[in-house]
């Protein structure tokens, strides 16, 4: 029996070990780490909500997200009504996009996707969370005249969406350096070597990164508004069950102590 368990453990560790390096090499750039502390910062989440309704809801819906759920972020209904309701009248409504779907199709070749659970859907095993992706994506725009919108994106090449936050970030171009191609002798290949600021934005790079982090924090929160409650309750459930385990363990021992 012990041998069997040993064999099982060995096989388990082998199969787990084999799974580690596999996911690393899936095209696209590596994702930056989203600063997760933003998720516990009410001011950041509120700022993210502001950015979201100002910049995103013009074209994207969040059709499962009710405006009045923003009360969970410490806002009152009056505040929501006065500052955040642009596309609807009632605070109990969901976030519907202002854009006409037919025009959207004409302008961008497709309807902008619903963003309610976008942060959950964009996670990728081995690459990072959905928040990591969004945080990288929204900060990876650059000018590209070969594209219909004039913009391109490092994290999502040939993306249909233009750089909506460009006023804040300013315009940037992608810089490339020529290098000898290691796989093709006598030829060169160009490697991405950072961005070059063409025009200044309203924000510095640091401020912009911070604003995007706020926006992504909001989108992550919106993907599962019950998450904070889930964590809080979970701690109590763990404490209860730990105590219960001890009681159940002693109860079991009490019954079995006379069994010879």
């Amino acid at each position: 029996m012990k041998k069997l368990i040993l064999i099982l453990l060995a096989s388990l560790s082998l199969s787990l070990g084999a799974s580690a390096p596999a996911a690393a090499s899936e095209g696209g750039i590596a994702w930056d780490k989203f600063p997760v502390s933003k998720l516990n910062d009410m001011a950041s989440l509120q700022n993210g909500a502001k950015l979201f309704v100002n910049y995103c809801v013009n074209c994207h819906s969040a059709s499962f997200m009710r405006y009045n759920r923003l009360r969970d972020l410490g806002l009152s209904e009056a505040q929501i009504k006065a500052n955040l309701l642009f596309t609807t009248e009632k605070v109990g409504d969901t976030m519907k996009a202002a854009i006409d779907p037919r025009q959207a199709k004409e302008w961008f070749g497709g309807n902008p996707p619903d963003l309610t659970v976008i942060a959950r859907s964009r996670a990728d095993i081995g690459k990072g969370t959905g928040a990591d992706y969004l945080y990288t994506y929204l900060r990876s725009y650059y000018r590209d005249d070969t594209k219909a919108t004039g913009w391109n994106n490092m994290a999502f090449p040939s993306v249909a969406m233009p750089h909506v936050l460009w006023e804040l970030q300013g315009q940037r171009a992608a810089k490339y350096v020529e290098e000898p191609d290691p796989h093709h002798e006598g030829h060169t290949t160009h490697r991405f070597a950072g961005y070059e600021q063409l025009t200044p934005g309203k924000m510095t790079q640091v401020e912009f990164d911070d604003a995007v982090a706020d926006l992504v924090a909001y989108m992550q929160w919106m993907g599962e508004p019950a998450q904070a409650q889930r964590f809080r309750l979970g701690v109590w459930v763990m404490i209860f069950l730990t105590v219960f385990i001890v009681i159940a363990w002693r109860l079991n021992a009490a019954f079995w102590k006379d069994v010879k």
Binding site: M1, S11, A248, K257
Partner: protein, 466 residues
Amino acid sequence: MAEFKQVAANAPVGEKLLNWVDNRFPASKLYKEHMSEYYAPKNFNFWYVFGSLALLVLVIQIVTGIFLVMNYKPDANLAFASVEYIMRDVPWGWLIRYMHSTGASAFFIVVYMHMFRGMIYGSYRKPRELVWIFGCAIFLCLMAEAFMGYLLPWGQMSYWGAQVIVNLFAAVPFVGPDLALLIRGDFVVSDATLNRFFSFHVIAVPLVLLGLVAAHIIALHEVGSNNPDGVEIKAKKDARGIPLDGIPFHPYYTVHDIFAVSVFLLVFSAVIFFAPEFGGYFLEYNNFIPADPLKTPAHIAPVWYFTPYYSMLRATTTEMVHVLVGILGLGTVLTLVKGRIPGAAKVGVAIAAIVAAALLLTFEAKFWGVVVMGGAVVIMFFLPWLDRAEQKSIRYRPGWHKVMYGLFVLVFAVLGYLGVQPPSPVGERVSQVGTLFYFGFFLLMPWWSQIGTFKRAPDRVTFSAH
């Protein structure tokens, strides 16, 4: 009719009431037979908690399922939104939904452990063949239940997973396309498919499942439980006819199981509250995108508990079919040369082998992949007759048998891992070897299970007081 029992006129009300019921329904009798006077071997170990846990998870799934159905809409236009409605607007809906989604994975974990326990201690062997067969049928139902339930959230993975699996039926020769059409109710997975899967998931399969679980337990309590020593405790009884090594299920194993349940719930709750997606394995990330019949995801993988079988399906390429024909030929030659069977039977074997080889080469590999995938589950039903080992329990079987069972688990885990990954040439080779090992393990068991030196099992179970 049983005799009408009387209680004393001055008996307590409770006793009178119980007597009234017992005269009309075998309440006390059932309680005694299945709880207080069901004698289970006293040497159960860790592996014996998973049956009760499976029952617990079944109850969790049914109860949470009832509440989910109150708010879920089986309609292609509303399904995805109704799941998000449950997650956001229904009070405690998120908890119910996570319990159900985590419960699906937990079900397979405990059932795989439960089945493995049966395998290593020979719990399927005489007289427990029917217990095992009912169990295998439960496993089959569980797979159907999980597969159809997975379509209901109507996300991309729900949709395309169902599309891929239903299309497999189209590979069946002659009737395939019509069969797939019958299952889908449409030419693609659509609203009609969602509705029938919903019906099967919440009514048909659970009914069958409950019936099978009842049969599984009734059969078990008829023959009595096996134990880690594989010793029949009913062989040694005391003067009252109670097995010497038996112990009443209640209270001894009920308190035992309460302890197991508490530990299980700790792990289960940790997943629900802190990692309900479980890194994309319990809830796949792609499934947070609504189903889109026009956009095929780059990589479609079933949920983790199906991936070992999915790997076997993918392993069955045309090349693999040729290998199978080769193995068939080799087996036939061996039977003809070494088999001690009459000449007429040998002719029959040769003809059958030629027909089988012809069929293997005639139909496309995809169909044989489906056969392999189905066969991997169906072969489990025959385990009681494949195992010819002298001893039931792994404890008294030769050391190399332990290696075989260890390898079996390893192969199953590797196949599962490869099933999650996108196809690759190396992965394909490894899963082909794994598939051959899986089937070899079962089909050659009548021979290999007899080889080696067995230890003698003790007369009584080995037990040390806690």
